[in-house]
Symmetry: C2
Subunit: 158 residues, 2 copies
């Protein structure tokens, strides 16, 4: 078992997945980690969309130029923010980091693919997932079993 | 030792500190955790200011209405972003979450006190810490030994 600090330092973006599904309990734990993030005045201005449907994953894959790994992801989580709340972007970014760390901790790979602030990405995600107008998708996080288990994180400290 | 998921789920904001100092190695590990965050195109648009000087902590305490715990903090980390980079806010928010988690993992308490987007907070922090104009302090994170070790995190899942 990794400690928290080891997990933070060893996490890295994973972009190649086997196509295998993600355990549903694990997905719930991963989203719960997102919900554990701090938020300004504890407003928790977020919503999380969990996608396991292959058809939706493939549609998002086609629509998003930097999320082409979605066709081999076991699932994806979309972190959305309530645009009426002033601090939704930072709060949702903190929640996203928790999601990435929890996925890593549970043995999955994941990667943050940005949606906001790109209108050309926000609109297709909104349409595919029926997201109301005042809610904005910050990112799509493909999650899956990594093809290569031996990838080392980039050294960012030199 | 906590696992990564346990650490994420049990972390909570700590606002009352004993006034004791923070071990320097621990501070370096905490900042290293910040640097391990993902960033758009791996640009890492961040800088971290580590403050242990009591005079500076007290000056920031006086200047910042929501960071009054700084006078009892052992240290503070200021997460700054390069405003020339489009995604600095989300990248620095992810780094901040890693810092909060690493502080928690090492047995310290910490709390995210927002600076950006409040001009009335950005300016005094910039002046006190001599931060160049194109670099923006996202937050000040007081870190210390928690007075009350038995505080439980808020249940955010109901």
């Amino acid at each position: 078992m990794q400690t928290l600090v080891e997990g933070i330092l060893s996490r890295h973006s994973v972009r190649k997945f086997t196509g295998d599904p993600i355990n549903e309990n694990d997905l719930n734990t991963i989203v719960k980690a997102g919900m554990a993030a701090p938020s300004a005045m504890n407003i928790q201005p977020w919503s999380f969309i969990i996608i396991t449907d292959k058809g939706i994953l493939n549609n998002l894959c086609k629509a998003l130029p930097y999320a082409k790994m979605l066709d081999k992801a076991g699932a994806a989580i979309i972190v959305c923010g309530d645009s009426k709340e002033a601090n939704w972007v930072v709060d949702c970014a903190a929640a996203t980091e928790n999601i990435l760390l929890a996925a890593h901790a549970l043995g999955y790979g994941a990667v943050w693919t940005a949606v906001y602030k790109y209108e050309s990405r926000i609109e297709p995600v909104r349409k595919e997932c029926k997201i109301p107008n005042d809610i904005i998708p910050l990112n799509v996080i493909p999650i899956g079993i990594a093809v290569d288990k031996n990838v080392k994180p980039i050294n960012k400290y030199n």
